[in-house]
């Protein structure tokens, strides 16, 4: 009878439906509670595990909150100078065309200091995956304004809110790279709800599968939160993200490969 079933009966190997991917190392993630980076990491690692390509994958970590991504991912990885990950990935992919190469970058790294490297790697059509986690702020250095910070949004270097007339406009890198002929698949996802996570996972998996086609960059933006930088509780930050980030950074595919 169902009423007599205890947790002990359920928690058995044969009933397992979800567990942490074995491609995480044993190191606890250094991210703040509720930060989307952990989920984004997990989706990348699950993809690599499911595709069985751990021994064929080389990742590039950025500078920023995810600078230590290489400590958490059981993948051969290199840590790039701020913004330069696409340059490293370009060389590695060209020197090992049969390998899977990805970069994992934040918005300060990819959309400010690394704009040139990002745009040119995308425009050359390098056969790499770029995972772009956009939380609209410099998290690691303490919540400064990023190129992606929304108009009016407060940060430690825009304490009265981002004033567009003096501080400029936020940059939609993903729409920008979608314009380039070298990008094959460009999409914007999120990881704040189960549904969003499942879609993001599908997008990341497609991005990695695309590398087999040699058709150019697959670019996956993940709009995420920065509870510490935004100075909010994690759940509240996700709500704020839905209300404020998503209207400016709408989720969904921006460039999809033409049907075969």
């Amino acid at each position: 009878m169902a009423e007599n079933i205890t947790n002990k009966d359920i928690v058995k190997e044969e009933n397992l439906v979800f567990k942490k991917t074995s491609l995480f190392t044993e190191k606890p993630l250094s991210y703040c509670p509720g930060c989307g980076h952990g989920t984004a990491h997990r989706l990348v690692l699950e993809t690599i595990e499911e595709m069985g390509i751990q021994s064929e994958t080389i990742g590039i970590a950025p500078v920023g909150c995810s600078v230590l991504a290489y400590e958490f991912m059981d993948i051969d990885m290199q840590q790039a100078a701020h913004g330069r990950a696409p340059a490293l990935a370009t060389a590695i992919k060209r020197l090992y065309p049969e390998k899977f190469v990805f970069t994992y970058q934040g918005d300060g790294d990819l959309a400010a200091i690394g704009t040139a490297e990002t745009i040119h790697a995308c425009n050359r059509g390098e056969n790499i995956v770029i995972i772009f986690v956009n939380n609209g702020i410099y998290g690691m250095t303490g919540g400064q304004m990023a190129p992606t910070t929304l108009p009016g949004m407060k940060s430690s270097t825009s304490p009265y809110g981002r004033e567009v007339i003096s501080m400029g406009n936020p940059l939609k890198m993903t729409e920008l790279v979608a314009q380039l002929p070298g990008t094959y698949y460009v999409t914007r996802q999120a990881v704040h709800t189960p549904g969003a996570v499942r879609k993001a996972k599908k997008a990341i998996k497609q991005a990695f599968e695309n590398q087999k086609l040699n058709k150019g960059v697959s670019f996956v933006e993940i709009v995420s939160n920065c509870n510490s930088g935004w100075k909010m509780e994690p759940v509240q930050a996700n709500e704020w993200m839905v209300e404020n980030m998503f209207p400016f950074y709408p989720l969904g595919d921006i460039k999809v490969p033409a049907e075969q």
Partner: protein
């Protein structure tokens, strides 16, 4: 018999790279070294050896491509000239901090700033003292001929891989642009991926079950580990100083005075020696071939023999500081140099010797 070719110094670098089995060259045009990239693009080495050649969007991107390729165990290089080398310093310090082998070629032009496109030797400090932030050194080779431009490519990679350290060929616009006869070496095959895994087990070639994941980084937030790492780097540099000093001496056996000069300046000094000796002035030349490690020990020995040293550099006097340190200020050390892209004449150098010491 070996194949002989008449080549520009820059072309010699490019051909030597192909022949040395280099896997990747990542460049960006800048005068007076653009022939390196031009030659490689024309030569299509991907057809000869499978070597990758890419024109990057900037010097910054080019050196970071080198960083990526080097971290993956490949034989990779870049070349540029002074303003471009300044841009590369970010990548170079990361490469040094991650202990990766690679080759950087600087075909020096006059500075500061955009300066001039004419040859100079004013990047000496930048080359031998590190160049970017942090305590690190490059292995620095200074060719004085087109043949040495060619030969030092292979040597630089040999040393770079031996010590897991970036190597720099410090040339200048004169040697880059001049044409001389070059003896071409046989083609060395590129390493296979299997050979790379064996030779460079630290490289990011993809994590296999037989080893932990490989990480290429220069970051360690633990100050004690970071200090330990710095001690390890310093120990490596002392080892390089012990083993790898290279220099050439010309007519030092009976010398009463000594020129110390490298690269283009050393060629000028050879003529000055002839002119001086015709006048009965016994002068010789010590030409450092490695600028780091610097031939300090030999200079100290020579300081017991000669009455004075004149360093000749196409700069305001940079190497002179290392010469003074080497001889421990036991004898007078003076400098003669031209700047702004001007190469000193042998007569000027002789006059400087006479004015300083006679």
């Amino acid at each position: 018999m070996k194949e002989l070719r008449l080549m520009k110094g820059n072309e010699a670098i490019a051909e030597a790279a192909i022949r040395a089995g280099v896997d990747g060259y990542f460049g960006y045009p800048i005068t007076p070294q653009s022939e390196v990239l031009e030659y490689l693009m024309a030569e299509q080495p991907e057809k000869r050896t499978g070597m990758v050649v890419l024109q990057a969007e900037s010097e910054v991107a080019a050196i970071n491509m080198v960083y990526g390729g080097a971290g993956a165990g490949k034989k990779v290089m870049t070349s540029s000239s002074s303003p471009g080398i300044s841009l590369k310093q970010e990548g170079i310090t990361y490469i040094a901090g991650a202990e990766l082998p690679c080759l950087i070629v600087n075909v020096v032009r006059g500075g500061p700033g955009l300066g001039t496109i004419q040859p100079a030797q004013s990047d000496y400090f930048q080359s031998v003292k590190g160049g970017g932030h942090g305590d690190y050194r490059l292995i620095v080779l200074a060719p004085a001929s087109v043949q040495e431009m060619y030969d030092f490519v292979g040597l630089a990679f040999e040393l770079a891989f031996k010590y897991r350290n970036p190597a720099l060929i410090l040339s200048d616009g004169a040697i880059g642009q001049m044409m001389e006869k070059v003896e071409i070496s046989d083609q060395i095959p590129r390493w296979t991926n299997e050979e790379i895994k064996k030779m460079s087990p630290w490289a990011t070639t993809g994590k296999t079950p037989d080893r932990p994941h490989n990480i290429i980084t220069s970051l360690d937030l633990d100050p004690h580990k970071q200090e330990d790492f710095n001690h390890k780097l310093q120990a490596k540099y002392r080892e390089i100083e012990k083993n790898e000093v290279r220099f050439e001496e010309i007519q030092t056996e009976d010398a009463e005075y000594l020129f110390v000069a490298y690269g283009t300046s050393s060629r000028i000094c050879q003529k000055s020696i002839q002119m001086a000796r015709a006048k009965g002035i016994k002068v010789g030349l010590l030409r450092p071939i490695t600028l780091f490690p610097f031939p300090s020990a030999r200079l100290l020995e020579l300081s017991k023999q000669v009455k004075g040293i004149l360093t000749v550099e196409m700069s305001a006097g940079q190497m002179i500081e290392d010469v003074k340190l080497a001889v421990r200020c036991s004898i007078p050390v003076e400098h003669y140099g031209r700047m702004g892209g001007i190469i000193p004449s042998p007569a000027e150098v002789l006059t400087a010797l006479e004015q300083n010491f006679l």
